[in-house]
Structure formats: C-alpha cells, structure tokens
Point group: C2
C-alpha cells in the first residue's frame, strides 16, 4: 500500500446512502441514532479472514501524525476515548477559546481561527506523516470545500441508513474531480481511497 | 461473474456524494446540469485497458430481460434513444393512462398502478432474465422502499457533483442491510454490486 507523505486525508465511514452518522448525535449517542452500525467493521477483525479491515485500520494509525476534528466530535468522543483519538497531536475546530488539554498520549489543541489554521497547525505537528481529518461531516466538508484535502478515504458500509448526517453536503456546486487510487473489499466494508485532482 | 436468475436489479451511476443526476433535469438536459459527467465512463471503453467498463456494460445488456423506468426518465430519454433503452420490454411508471408505444426493438408499456405492478409486469416479460430498474432516482427509491429490489448495482463515479438529484433519499428510517457481492474498479468508475438482505 502506497501513501503520499504528508497528505491531508479526510477519512470517515459512510453508508451507501451517504450518511456518516445517524440522526440526533449527542453525548449518549456519539454516532447518532443507529449510527454505530457504521463502525461495526472496526470490531469484526476476527470475523474477516482476509484481514483487510485490520490492515487498513492499522495502516491509518501508522501513517497518521496529527488529527483534526470538529468540536462536536470532540465533545461526544472524548469520554469514550479517555485520550486523544489517535496517539498524536489533535486539533479541535471550535468557536470557543480554550486551554490546550493534555491527555495520556498527546494533547488536544483548540483552534478558533478556521479550518485552514487547524490544518496548518496539524501539518506542522505531523512532520512528514499524514494529517487525518476524522470528522464530523461538517469539518470534513470544510477541508474539502477549502481545497485543502489531498485525499479522501471512505469506508463504505453496506447499509442504507435512511436518515442521519450526510457526509458530503454543503460543498458548493463546482464539480470536484477525484482519482480512485485504491479499492479493497472485506465482507464488512469496502475501503475506497481517492486523490483530489487539482 | 455470477448473477441470480430473475433478479430485480436497481442499477444507476452515482457520484461519490450520492447524486445520480445534476440539478434541473429537462429534455435539453437529460442528466441535469453537468450530470452527463456520471455517464462518461460508458464512452471511455477504448481508454480502459482493463476492459472492465465494457464488460460490465455488456453484461448488463446480456442479463436484462425487461426494464422499469420513471416517467421523467422516459420523457428525457426517448428522444435520445429513438428506441427502448435496451432491446427488451420497457415499463414506464406514470400517472397518465397511455397506449403502449411500439419502438424498433420492443415496446414501452405505461403502468399507472404503482411500482409493484410495474415490477410484476416486467418480471413476467423478462422470463428468466433480470429486471433492470434504471431510474430515475425516485423510481429506484420506490423499488427499494417497497422491498422489491433484490440487488443494487452502483457505478460509483469519482467526482463530487455538489448538487443534483440524490439517488438514495426518501427511503424511510429503517436500516436496509446489504451484502456487497462484487467490486470491480476501472480508472473511470468503481462497479459495486450489493444484494439486499431480507
């Protein structure tokens, strides 16, 4: 598996009908109503004889040098993680000025001056590794709409959720051309990777 | 490539952000504004050394015994096709009672009593071949929501259109579980096939 050094990678799980979470995301429902279906593939390692899912998840950990996430993803996730989501510097896009929060593996830094600034700070912290934009959807959309995402990695989950948070939304009406650089299937999910064409 | 005999197959091209047509579909814009991008892969045969796209398109022709389409798809398509879209009996879902229309290869039959009736008539006409639900999106949604689609075949086009007609919409809020039965990639498109789990 090849991987450009220092890419900004938007990576989320998505249902075939385009949702990256169910409806009504809240602290007690971090993936929204029924949205935990989208992360089941992460916990099926033993049930996937191909080992593809485990390999993709491990690769993501190995190549990620910093993370950017939205404020709501932080709010609903931090209690679950009890740490940063990956053991690397993590930048939270927010409107609220807030002190850096040191966790066991790394720190959360709260960024109030926009997605561009969050990605710049994350890129510096990642050194030669990738920056992972892990969501939520609105944060991913901002990175893509600003033309700052180099790659989009989708774990396409074989389910129609019917409702929830649309991953690709509010992107404007200009076509954004992609090149599909990888497709790997397991019984649980299809891993699709795209390079954003400039 | 295996294929169940007599499946009802919803098959459409879709952008990564979930659109099966651009905005403002009309006779002079059958795929909507900019939506023809989604069908480019059909005309790139020579540019795909793998031959995957040609093979999938030929397979679709070979296995299809009848077609179901929506009224708007008929209205915007018939002038382009100058025939039925495939050389097989074609059933148009409409609210308007209308005489059967014989074309060169086969006939259009206009069905006014709903998707279930259109699919029943198409299945009888297809004998042991597949019924292809070719769109538009609303017709595909009705087949899926009614629990009548056996398979969903998506040509996933590597582009974010930003706006248009969402393929998967108005499906209700019950999860519909799928099994991904095929994934084939060409440089132009990713062919994904799913079986609907009952």
């Amino acid at each position: 598996m090849t991987n450009s050094t220092g890419s900004i990678v938007v990576s989320l799980s998505m249902s075939l009908d385009g949702f990256s979470a169910g409806p009504d995301v809240a602290v007690e429902r971090p993936m929204g109503e029924g949205g935990e279906r989208l992360h089941e593939w992460l916990f099926q390692g033993d049930a996937d004889p191909s080992g593809v899912d485990t390999r993709v998840a491990q690769e993501l950990s190995a190549v990620t040098g910093a993370v950017v996430l939205g404020r709501r993803t932080f709010d609903v996730g931090v209690g679950l993680w009890q740490d940063t989501p990956f053991p690397v510097p993590s930048f939270v896009l927010t409107h609220e000025v807030r002190e850096q929060q040191q966790m066991k593996s790394a720190a959360f830094t709260f960024v109030t001056d926009g997605i561009g600034s969050a990605l710049r700070q994350a890129r510096a912290a990642a050194v030669d590794k990738d920056v992972l934009v892990m969501g939520g959807a609105r944060t991913a959309q901002q990175a893509i709409a600003a033309g700052l995402a180099d790659e989009i990695q989708i774990q396409l989950v074989p389910v129609l959720l019917g409702s929830g948070v649309r991953l690709f939304d509010q992107l404007g009406t200009e076509h954004i051309e992609l090149e599909r650089t990888r497709v790997l299937g397991s019984p649980h999910v299809t891993h699709l990777r795209f390079r954003v064409r400039r």
